[in-house]
């Protein structure tokens, strides 16, 4: 029997939510690592029983956990993220220079094909890779050492590398996104990197269409169209059809084009989901109404999805890693909120129901489709 396993990272632990393919009755397992911030956990596409989790604490630092049995039991693996060489400096919020300093792992991206290979996006922004199941990590330092590095600056959440998108067939090509530097692409397995921010315009930087400095919040790709990328920027929803070489805006009729997550339907590469948020100073949905917006035209034309979502007095946020889609025949969509709810739709977003309502603030949601 097929089913899904939803992996939820929260401010105070991790939760594993499971259901069969109908996605109506859920089992809730957790909290794992209770009391710790779980920024992200994600399963290996090459071995679904293998899950990696970023466990972090402002007091005690970084831990990486790994499960080899689908999240039932966990073991601590390596947490040593040492920058390659002398780390150098980047801009602080006020434009002064600060040395690169590791704070935490924001995002773990397991390889599509190798169960022992996993990438980690960290704050201060850098990309690390492990080829031994997370036990040891080495930096792909060509990114941090890009000549634009000294001009990178933190977004409100820190200077984090939060998005890692792997090309489905070309293992030399990766996309990453950094707040607030922008998007970058490598075509040689991480040795060299190209800023891919042409077409982005950001009012928060002196040169609005600069090569770097853009606060990209999230990038999504459908594996059948690896040259087409969708981006939720600080403001603006953007699209590229040339692997990031150029971007154009597809915000269209959204009530706000500010937001954090963006994702693509599992079976329809032109169907895209976002969660509009009122503004960068008001991190809650417009009108107190939580609406996921869906475009079936690859952007520009958006429809509000509201059935089963709170439509009044709702002032939660949905963070950048807190939306996911499953790949069952009827595509499921999941969003987690800073109010501790995880909502699921088993019909591509037409209708929603809460899986849980009272978790700690949700930082990330991923889903594994089990067959």
């Amino acid at each position: 029997m097929s089913g899904v396993r939803v992996l939820v990272g929260t401010r105070k632990g991790a939760f594993v939510l499971t259901a069969d393919e109908r996605r109506r009755q859920w089992e809730v397992d957790g909290p794992h690592f209770s009391g710790w911030e779980i920024y992200h956990l994600k399963g290996s596409p090459a071995d679904p029983d293998r899950i990696f989790a970023s466990q972090t604490s402002g007091w005690f630092g970084q831990v990486v956990q790994r499960s080899d049995d689908g999240g039932s039991t966990w073991g601590q693996v390596g947490g040593d993220f040492t920058y390659d060489g002398v780390p150098g400096q980047h801009q602080w919020y006020d434009g002064s220079l600060r040395p690169w300093e590791f704070t935490r792992v924001w995002h773990l991206e397991p390889s599509l094909t190798e169960p022992d290979t996993v990438y980690a996006g960290v704050e201060d922004a850098a990309l690390f890779k492990s080829t031994d199941g997370g036990e040891s990590w080495h930096e792909l330092s060509g990114l941090r050492e890009h000549p634009t590095g000294p001009s990178w600056q933190p977004g409100a959440g820190g200077m984090c590398l939060h998005t890692i998108v792997a090309h489905p067939t070309d293992d030399q090509r990766l996309y990453v996104a950094i707040s607030a530097a922008g998007a970058f692409r490598t075509d040689d397995g991480g040795k060299t990197w190209l800023p891919i921010n042409k077409g982005l315009r950001s009012g928060e930087i002196p040169d609005t269409d600069a090569e770097v400095g853009h606060c990209v919040h999230r990038i999504a790709m459908h594996p059948s169209r690896p040259d087409t990328l969708f981006m939720q920027k600080h403001w603006d929803v953007m699209r590229s059809d040339d692997a990031g070489d150029s971007w154009h805006e597809v915000s269209g009729n959204l009530p706000s084009d500010f937001g954090f997550p963006i994702d693509v339907h599992a079976h329809e590469p032109e169907t895209v989901y976002v969660v509009p948020i009122k503004s960068d100073s008001e991190h809650f949905p417009p009108d107190g109404s939580l609406r996921v917006y869906r475009s079936r035209t690859g952007g520009d034309e958006w429809e509000a999805l509201t059935e089963g979502l709170p439509q009044r007095d709702c002032y939660v946020n949905v963070l950048r890693d807190a939306m996911a889609v499953d790949s069952l025949d009827s595509c499921g969509v999941y969003v987690g909120t800073t109010g501790g709810q995880v909502y699921a739709s088993a019909d591509s977003g037409d209708s929603w129901a809460p899986i849980v309502r009272d978790l700690p603030a949700v930082l990330s949601v991923e889903v594994q489709s089990l067959r």
Binding site: G35, G58, W59, F60, G61, Q62, G79, D80, T82
Partner: protein, 112 residues
């Protein structure tokens, strides 16, 4: 007595009691106090060196794994004193070395 034997008899061995915060006890898989056996001078550095050798999963969680600096939100107390800002090679109070008082590793106050 040979020189080597003399040196051996000069080395004092102490059992120091360490109290860790709950999260670090979980990481290390221990309950209650952690006894560590320290040879020679009992200092913050020597105590933590043994603790991390006995429990490698704690590396980097109390002090930076490379610079060995105390993490910003971690403090060290003993005998009703705050030792957080003492030099890491300063000798700890006799009561800690003798085991009559524990060495406390404390997460900085948080809550509300």
């Amino acid at each position: 007595m040979s020189t080597t034997e003399a040196k051996q008899t000069d080395v004092h061995v102490h059992t120091v009691r360490i109290v860790l915060p709950a999260h670090l006890r979980t990481i290390a898989g221990i309950a209650g106090e952690v006894p560590v056996t320290v040879e020679g001078a009992v200092t913050t550095r020597s105590v933590l060196d043994v603790l991390e050798a006995d429990h490698p999963r704690l590396a980097g969680m109390i002090r930076d794994r490379h610079t060995q600096r105390r993490r910003a939100f971690v403090r060290f107390f003993a005998c009703a004193r705050d030792l957080s800002h003492d030099e890491p090679d300063a000798v700890l109070p006799d009561a800690v070395a003798q085991g009559s008082e524990p060495f406390l590793v404390v997460g900085a106050m948080a809550g509300g």
